[in-house]
Amino acid sequence: MIPVIHYLFLSFSLLLIGIVGATIRRNILIKLFSVELILVATSINLAAFARLFGDAAGQTFAVFTIAITGAEFLVGAAIFAAIFRRWHAVPVPAAQESPRQPSVNY
């Protein structure tokens, strides 16, 4: 038997890691992954409490969360690809010469 608090601990840890990654990191992909970590933490909570109460509603909403995770990543990646394609001002060879300089200004 595993106490529910263990699942809550795991979920809270993933939530913390996701929040820190989404706020501190500047890489777009890492930011997307961090947001998905937050959603994964939500699904763990939902599944644990669905298991605790024997209710199918929790698993249903967890399926929703996973579907939202996939759609969010696809749409987010498409939006960022469109943004970088539209405002890509610095040519790649010039950016390679000075990789520490930001190449996109908003």
Binding site: M1, I5, L14, I24, F33, V63, P99
Partner: protein, 172 residues
Amino acid sequence: MLSEVTFAILAGIAILSSVVMISREKAAFGVMYFVLTLLAVAGIFLQLHAPLLFVAQWIAIACLLLGLILFAVEVAKLDVALADEYYWRSKAAAVAVATLLLIEIVLMLVQRHFLPGENAAIFLPQNPASAAPSPGNVMKFFFAYSQLPLGLLLFLVLTAVVGIRVTFQKRV
């Protein structure tokens, strides 16, 4: 005992790989560790007697990898702009996560020391066959009680298809 050991291994893999994921400087390594996190969480779903979530998690991993491949193909020439990041941010992320997790563990230990059995006494049911909702029950709840979830799910799929279409749009 075996389930507790399994949970500890899976949870440790999930937490450690997610910490490594946000502390890597290159996003390519972050992708691998993120997939490892998702796989560990899929194992936890299986341990929670939720096979439907296990399958959904695998489908999500497949969608993630497919989207990543499309994204990498589309913005391959813009890789420098995407990877442009100061190195101290990765270290700061790792230090911040380690500090927060340490605080969380200390608070948990203090709570268990001074308030024994308050929240830790809630255990999952021991007999999974009688308590765990079956995939059939989940699908019945999904389709029988409301059509709104199905509509929302179709909307999400439509949104994802539009996203893929935008990704493959030809450059002007």
